[in-house]
Subunit: 434 residues, 2 copies
């Protein structure tokens, strides 16, 4: 450790020169001395590639060999670490990572979709070959959540992991509240600001955040990553009405991912939830991300930072590169891939309080009918608010229940329309205890 | 990594069986399988010692060899890792750690005072012997700030590190505000609740938090740890008046540590500051700790969690033990000790807004005299509030300045009494930009 600098540099081959790729190049160039001092050896880029070579990029790439495709970099003799920043849950990203591992290289990637879908197979491959596959940048950008969970909390049995892990959704929900605008209007703003993925359902549909949650679950509970088991609901149905009403009751609506192991199996869900407005998660505004991890010894740890962007994501990629340069080799998901169990997926059953918004006909007995249904469902009411008339024939009623089961809520949501006193479909949102 | 379990256990020798020591024993016992799976080998305790053998402790210690003193454990043949939980910035803690390193053992400690005072020498010793010295538990309990700074942010030039790192002080300040009680009353409460160190000035005097800041500075800026250069001011002079007035202006008072590298040298200070009440630091209540790290690429990362207590602190000790069990060997302060520079200490000079409370005589021209002094000092006023009479002859006036230099504030604080219109000494507190 106190020995002089190793003369041989750690040689990087970077596939993909988008925002993150260029960010990595800039850090390697700007902080060459810093990186050498911290890792004990020089960190150098030897080869790069991207879809369009002629595209104008804001970094000097003249010193690096240009390859025609990721495969050529993954198998190049003068590359020690293959940095995959192409993206996509299959195709060239997957093929090139496999090729890199097979040709004896370690791999660093920011590809959450690929890890969420093929993480187990890739981890088994890497570990069978004695190579490492790191992905700090895949979850919550610059926030060091992967290292915190695989290393810092390794003495803990993880009880629950949750987080706001899609900055675009949090921006949209925050902006809806601050500007009092409906979802569609803010969605259009976000599109014009370039905040949305080419396929916006990846963001607003909760899929991108679901990928991240599946990865965290695997590390937290020692299970094989299982994205298909994540219950996903996006933010499309979150209305400005509910954001306002929730605020009246002291809550904020967030696209919240929650994973926890229960006697019935592993619960993984990514859905709009209410959280107390004064909690760290409730305070989270705009594009910032937050991950909350609860361990049996450490209690609750909250990590907050930028979840995307050139600098933060590149910073996370560098943390993996530095780890490899220092000679650290850890199991991909914190324990050997062969020891990761296939968890029984469980539908959410942990009781919670729920928020309900019901638009009732303005006539005698309407409220009584609703209260009866809730009673029949075994749901007891914590708080109820009836507001002044919306329209001539509808009266909005808000209900915050005591802790109850999702099953009871489902029963009520199904039964309520049959009362004949609802003007529109009932809205229900879980209030997550944070 | 996918290879079967190593048969030979990592053997721990634990010196000190207070809250943290017993917490470590409990985790090693409770999570034997978890630790083996995550590290690839069993983790076992072979020898222990504490001041009083007969003391009743809430853990089964029958399986471990009892040694008479830390030195015996530090030099025992059947110990791989010496876990120092005795405490103290010299004496047996220091001697036993040196002995352990010299007899070829790695060392894990939670001893912030020792590292703040002798960190450089111990790091040089450890690295010259090819051993490692880890101390995640020394700063902010269960919050993984050491690993985050030495590893996760290794691709960043750190701009500033700050934090609330003494839970007792934050409890006292929070309780003063919530209960409207004066400092002395809450201090007495804290003493009766057992929240205070044997020597309470370590807590309320800011020394314990100062130790932690000095350690973080060394990692952040690649400098030799220099506790003597930390400007320290405790919370003893924080009055309930100032807490109330600050709240009126939208601020909270925190014992805040701030370290940043400036062209003039390294600023390190631990002192009561105002922060916006709605900022993550401002929201921090009770015994919770928070560390904020700002890097040139990652931006601002906020880490929050329990700063003390059996479980959280033991969790941090385990993260170091797991790291060693996995065969990871990193430089003590994130880069070889020989490359750490002796930083030029600099008195705080970074401009900031300041809060001032002045009790003026209730007579014409008093405010004008004050305004003139501030003007002469080159201080421009952002907000000023005059309150109704406190007592027949005094009128409290609050001033929030625009950004100004500490020198200008010192000039004003010295000149104001000479106006002859102050009833009591002026109070000034820095408003840290967070």
């Amino acid at each position: 450790m106190s020995s002089p600098l190793r003369p041989d540099p750690l040689r990087l081959g970077i596939a993909g020169l988008g925002t993150v790729g260029i960010g990595v190049v800039k850090i390697v160039q700007k902080h060459a001395d810093l990186l050498a001092r911290r890792t004990g050896r020089p960190v150098a880029i030897t080869a790069i590639c991207a879809r369009d070579r002629r595209k104008n990029r804001d970094a000097d790439l003249s010193g690096y060999r240009w390859e025609d495709d990721a495969m050529a970099i993954a198998t190049a003799d003068d590359v020690d670490v293959f940095v995959e920043l192409v993206g996509g849950d299959s195709g060239i990203a997957k093929d090139s990572i496999e090729a890199a591992l097979k040709s004896g290289k370690d791999v660093v990637t920011a590809n959450k979709a690929l890890l969420a879908v093929h993480g187990q197979a890739l981890a088994e491959l890497a570990e069978s070959l004695g190579r490492t596959l790191r992905f700090e940048a895949a979850v919550a950008g610059g926030i060091p959540v992967i290292k915190t969970m695989t290393e810092s909390l390794a003495g803990n049995e993880i009880r629950r992991v949750m987080g706001v892990m899609n900055g675009t959704c949090n921006y949209i929900l925050t902006r809806m509240e601050s500007a009092g605008l409906p979802y569609e209007a803010v969605f259009e703003e976000a599109r014009q600001l370039g905040y949305l993925e080419a396929d916006p359902t990846l963001d607003v549909g909760g899929i991108d955040a679901g990928h991240k949650l599946a990865i965290l679950s695997a590390i937290a509970f020692g299970t094989q990553v299982n994205f298909d088991a994540v219950e996903i609901e996006g933010i499309e149905r979150v209305s400005i009405d509910d954001i306002r009403r929730a605020a009246d009751m002291g809550y904020r609506i967030k696209l919240l991912g929650v994973a926890q192991m229960t006697p019935r199996g592993l619960e993984q869900r990514m859905s709009p939830c209410l959280v107390p407005a004064d909690s760290p998660l409730g305070q989270l505004m705009g594009g910032t991300n937050m991950v909350v991890v609860e361990g049996d010894s450490v209690g609750q740890i909250v990590l907050r930072g930028a979840g995307a962007g050139e600098g933060p994501t590149a910073s996370a990629v560098l943390s993996d590169i530095v780890e490899i340069a220092r000679g650290v080799r850890l199991p991909v998901f914190g324990q050997p891939a062969g020891t990761l169990k296939a968890a029984q997926p469980a539908r959410t059953a942990v009781p919670a309080a729920y928020y309900m918004r019901l638009d009732l006909q303005d006539k005698p007995g309407a409220l009584a009918k609703v209260a009866t249904v809730l009673g029949d469902a075994g749901i007891s009411i914590d708080r109820m608010r009836q507001y002044g008339q919306h329209s001539p024939e509808s009266v909005p009623v808000l209900v915050v229940t005591h802790k109850t089961t999702p099953e009871a809520i489902d029963f009520a949501i199904e039964a309520l329309p049959r009362t004949g006193v609802l003007v529109s479909a009932p809205v229900e949102l879980r209030i997550e205890e944070v």
